[in-house]
Symmetry: C2
Subunit: 771 residues, 2 copies
């Protein structure tokens, strides 16, 4: 066999294994004629995209073998599961991590059976699939993941097959522009292969039906050098693909050597369900949407279909591909790259194996000096920016900060003292902080920020995504998928832990002074807590020092999604750094200096989470001190939201005894919360004192107005909290009717004042505890 | 003045008004020298994009005037508020809907003051802005909205200015391909104007920095005929823009007459902050990101800045633009189109004024015959498809069904008996159901489906978006923005109600037989209920007839977002159609034939919402009848989830008395829920009996397995529900230890069986109530 004959044999073997996965329970080598008993009772799986994926994989393996090229493979088409699994089995990596699925007949049988079978493996590429960093569930993120993997991996080529279905999604359409953020020297290369097989589920795909000249222009417009590989005759397609890949890798060399700014890409046009049944029951199948899932649907019941299946499988000539024991023949094994060069065994695709902990400078060095607590203010994210600056400086090759053009707006500007925004397009003399290889990645697409970061993390690096709070909902679905990936991956022994995905949400709901209602939405937290407790963490540091402590903790963690909500506007300094660390380590605690219950049972617990709610709670407590000095008030601040849950529900959860000791079981708790109030109820509904917890939070009241007016619109303001205390503490309502009226009047005055004058938050008062 | 001089005067007037909005509290006509007292205390707003938006608007008005062209204007750049407001005021439409903002000096002062001021109007285009269907908050949806507005409006041109910032987003990048879904005969035309002013917030924009030849190819690749208008000298730019628009509208005529398939688009390259300060404090401002917001930041404090502001405003020569009373001069008013042709007064942009109710055929005609309830099964969405088919047939010009290539998969296939998928690209002989003007719009982009539908609805038409349940999270953020739009618009007297946005979520969490974990997420409901009760509705019809009744109700409703979750797999028929209507009208109710409490106090309430949970609840009740015939069981099914809330929280909410009568205040309630269980707690936590409500639902346990195994993994299965009853009904645990063990054994057997055989849901049992 010559080289291309071996590639063809490998391709046929992979196709055979894919068909076997979809159909067979037994008789994997077709040692005997197929009977209905060999067929799975329910046929589930996707054939259509598989032969094209196999074709690419087979040809890329030749290049890897010849060039010793470090490469990984991202299968964008959602249902490419049978292909990826087939390769891993052919390359031996499947049996290495799943020894029970040995590289022989018995293993092949087990492989076929587990595919898309109850308790088995999904029909798409998944965490269970060796060599994968990209799940083929929700579509649209393959190319962003590919670029994320390529950043800071200068010797890597990420081959990324983009399906023509997913190519219609927004995130994918934007991802092509990622080439403007790639540094030829410090980063690797992405080789996109747009695979046009013509159809999505039941429809033609847009890119498959536009004129070829439009498609070529589109790809050139995106900044690539497109190469068309088109046809359905393997005898023609093999040499064409091989020549094209040789050309393409020559162009990649030229790019890496600075001889061109254009990276190549391939348009591969092959029939959907290529090499499968051409016609079934009188209807065309190969080359149409009918081959998307299971081309022959009633194989168990219909002998003609059964015969067609056998004919189809035998068309790959399995006798030439596998020996009598079911092992791939030598000619096929020869095409498999060695060790870690196998794409199904690449350490890049099991990033935890490559993960180096961040060199973390001491965050305490950036601490704000806190004298009398609650008397000065600081912009927390500005302080965090200095810490992140030092993190970047200490980790120039494996840490990036992503954001949709909001790094400055979110006041992380100190980063630009040591690095720039990644930019590989034209730079003008008036520009600032733009450079290839910059550690800050800004693109006005939350999807790209998220997708790049996921790819970067899953290949063993670290990062942080800073975003306006309201617009992080844009990636709700991507967060869901990543959390599910982490949850699944944690249970897979051979997958090593990766760095957590860290969100910093700033420009939050309470501070949208001119943006107004459209920019007010703290609901991402509700989406996050729907995911498994084993993978999600939520932090609401109330001041700069607690933000530093939380950020340090998150950057050290593994396999989580950490959500940090922190303000960029000045907030009051509450905790000297040592106390901040203690407070964050506990996750919540009593603010002693603001409480006057002196360890006894309080009359009321004033709880708070989030910077603005904490300010208002403290201001309310100050009013209570002034007007009701005998009232025993306990102030509890919550940083780690997951602490509120029972310990049976979340690893961070408190025992009931701890919870009861802090919040009491029978005293009113006025809980002032950053987000939608019911989240606190949801987290605490099993607690003894739950019926006494009265939560204030954002209740979707908003407009273009001052922050203090926002607080009042949603009843989280100091005056309203005092009224809540009056209404909730037994006996107070009667004796303090005058105070209630005073608070009502104060609110009206405050609203009129803030609306008329357009001022910021009220000045920090002359707190009673500092007098 | 000649025509272009008038256009220039109009442009200068609009620019003047925009600057005034950002800066001035008083002295709107500069009748006296500016003093600090004339300046707002906080300067909030966005200048950068405004002059470009004004330029387009001014020139389009000329075309409207000359051609009598029906046109609306969509301002994609987020912060184009000052521009849109200025136009509306100049065109008189602002004063028509806000008479206090009269078209004179007093009105101009009020206009300036309310802009980006507490309690005023946002700095971006919003529902409050006459002539707008597109909020400039979250970016990326302008072009999809534009196409949505153009569908079925054959005489309309939608001018859509795309900002170079938002052009980086995924949804926008995909939206260009909307031209493949436009029918030249039945639909209107979208004229995209890609406005490259070079920068987003703090960064250059990608499309502004790629080579011009790449940009042209990109647009050609997207299928447009691009026209470049570039420069910064108004004397050159005015004739260039005018000539280009004449050419472009000639090409639009050719397209409408079938002489070309290509629509034109314009690339407009002008400096950011055009005509604003060129340099401030020694730094370049015009033409850089520094002009994004407020070019002169300290006008009140810095006399030099104050002088520059005055110089800047006087550069527009206000004396020539407004008469002594502050009214626009005659030459400007002459450029304003007449009546409804004014883009700021177009009825299309206040779609409720054009809304015609759907001609709704009688859904009862599609009802499933139900004999003994719970003994036969039907695919609910297949039945719905027949009703939708008749809706399409009866409303061929104002109703569309959107979906990401899942209309067939979601079994709405009957639609294709009367219509096709909209498609204006190449069609092959093997294709089915593709045609220009088809009522079904399928593109593999949930963003486009949502964006098109929003644009379609806001211009006065009707529609439905069908989607896999898990992937509707892709548009969480768009849903949020649309719900906020509706919430705001409801409070604006001149905005007329529009048709509700109806979601049909199918292929839901419980039926992902081969797709597995990545396709399992019922959390969209949690996102939805965070929005105002006045605009959101959630329905979980348990069978085909209730789905019909709910769908009919939703299609008649106005100004809501309706979410319907319904299965496509066979579910048991429960309600004859008349009972279904009664049940849906009530929103929830006792299933009499499954209950045996005979109107007395039950021992336990078995509540359910959603098709699979309802099946399992009924099966559990069946087991209880068999094993514990003396136990008094009440079965309550919930269709309208909002009924669970207190009437004080949601218009659909029940009074406590009603709730207590149904659910009791002291008996255990075993609530089997479709989604994440805490949502039921959240909706019911204020109810008297809340501490007795025990909720089962999806708890993020999933894998590739059978539906019944999924139920078991999440403890919503019949056996576990019986165990819950045993554990919760006082006294039962002791007397029925054997039954509990029996249930445990049955679960183990059922799991082994379902995993081994890969079967569907267990057959409907020989229900006790039918014996």
């Amino acid at each position: 066999m010559d080289t291309l004959e071996r590639v063809d044999a490998y391709w046929r073997a992979a196709n055979y294994l894919a068909v076997g996965q979809i159909y067979l329970l037994g008789n994997p080598l077709l040692a005997e004629p197929l009977t209905p008993e060999h067929i799975k009772p329910r046929l589930l799986g996707h054939w259509g995209t598989t032969p094209g994926l196999n074709f690419c994989f087979a040809h890329l393996n030749r290049v890897i073998g010849e060039r010793g090229q470090d490469m990984i493979y991202i299968a964008g088409p959602g249902h490419g599961g049978p292909a990826a699994v087939a390769h891993s089995w052919l390359e031996g990596s499947y049996s290495e991590v799943y020894p029970e699925v040995s590289q022989d007949e018995a293993g092949m049988r087990r492989l076929f059976r587990r595919f898309s079978f109850p308790g088995g493996i999904p029909s798409h590429v998944a965490p269970e699939t060796p060599g994968s960093i990209h799940e083929g569930g929700e579509l649209g993120y393959s190319l962003a993941h590919a670029y994320g993997a390529a950043f800071d991996n200068p010797d890597l080529v990420v081959a990324c097959v983009v399906g023509d279905g997913e190519a219609e999604t927004g995130p994918l359409a934007a991802s092509w522009h990622s080439n403007k953020f790639l540094d030829p020297r410090r980063d690797g290369v992405v080789l996109p292969i747009l695979h046009l097989n013509g159809y999505k589920i039941a429809n033609p795909a847009v890119l498959a039906r536009i004129p070829s000249e439009d498609l070529i222009k589109l790809m050139e417009g995106y900044g690539y050098r497109p190469h068309l590989v088109e046809g359905d005759d393997p005898a023609v397609m093999h040499p064409l693909m091989a020549q094209t890949l040789d050309t393409v890798f020559g162009e990649i060399d030229a790019y890496k050597h600075g001889q061109t700014d254009r990276l190549p890409m391939i348009v591969l046009r092959t029939p959907k369900g290529w090499t499968g049944p051409k016609e079934v029951d009188g209807l065309p199948v190969e080359g149409t949407w009918r081959s998307h899932q299971v081309p022959l649907a009633t194989v168990r019941e219909n002998p003609a279909h059964l015969a067609m299946l056998e004919q189809w499988m035998r068309s790959y000539r399995p006798d030439e591909l596998f020996d009598a024991d079911g092992r791939p023949v030598q000619e096929i094994l020869q095409t498999v790259p060695a060790g870690d060069l196998r794409m199904s065994a690449s350490p890049h695709a099991n990033g935890g194996t490559l993960l180096r902990p961040l060199a973390l400078p001491d965050f305490r060095e950036h601490a704000v000096e806190v004298g009398a607590p609650g008397t000065a203010t600081t912009e927390p994210t500005r302080v965090l920016g200095r810490f992140l600056r030092d993190v970047v400086a200490a980790n120039p090759h494996n840490f990036r900060v992503m954001g949709p053009d909001e790094t400055d707006s979110n006041r992380l500007s100190a980063l630009f003292e040591v690095t720039a925004r990644a930019w590989h397009a034209r730079i003008l003399p008036t520009d600032q902080h733009l450079a290839a290889g910059g550690r800050v990645m800004e693109v006005l697409s939350e999807h790209l920020c998220q997708g790049w970061l996921e790819g970067y993390l899953l290949t063993g690096r670290h990062g942080l995504f800073n975003c306006y709070e309201a617009f992080i909902h844009i990636v709700d679905a991507m967060f869901n998928q990543h959390a599910k990936w982490l949850d699944t991956a944690r249970e897979i022994a051979w997958r090593r832990p990766v760095a957590s995905l860290n969100y910093l949400l700033s420009s939050h709901v309470w501070r949208q002074d001119h943006n107004g209602f459209s920019h007010q939405d703290p609901g991402f937290l509700d989406v996050v807590v729907n995911k498994k407790a084993s993978v999600v963490r939520v932090y609401l540091p109330p001041d700069a020092n607690t933000l530093l402590s939380v950020a340090d903790h998150c950057l050290r963690s593994r396999d989580y999604v950490n959500v940090i909500v922190a303000g960029k506007q000045p907030v009051i300094d509450l905790f000297p750094i040592d106390q901040a660390v203690v407070h964050c380590t506990r996750g919540l605690g009593i603010i002693d200096w603001a409480s006057n219950d002196q360890g006894a049972e309080p009359d009321v617990v004033m709880a708070c989470a989030g910077d603005v709610p904490t300010l208002e709670t403290l201001a309310a407590v100050d009013l209570l001190r002034e007007h009701l000095p005998a009232l025993k008030v306990r102030v509890v601040n919550v940083v780690d939201l997951m602490r509120l849950q029972p310990s049976t529900e979340h690893p961070h959860g408190m025992s009931d005894a701890e919870f009861d000791a802090l919040f009491t079981t029978d005293k009113p708790v006025i809980f002032n919360f950053h987000g939608y109030p019911w989240l606190i109820h949801r987290l605490t509904y099993r607690r003894h004192g739950h019926h006494n917890i009265h939560v204030r939070g954002y209740k979707e009241e908003g407009t273009t107005t001052t922050p203090f007016d926002m607080a009042m619109l949603n009843d989280i303001d100091r005056y309203h909290l005092v009224m809540d205390v009056i209404d909730r503490v037994p006996g107070l309502a009667v004796t303090t009717a005058h105070l209630r009226q005073q608070m009502t009047d104060a609110r009206l005055r405050a609203r009129a004042h803030t609306r008329d004058h357009g001022e910021d938050m009220p000045d920090i008062r002359d707190w009673t505890w500092t007098r």
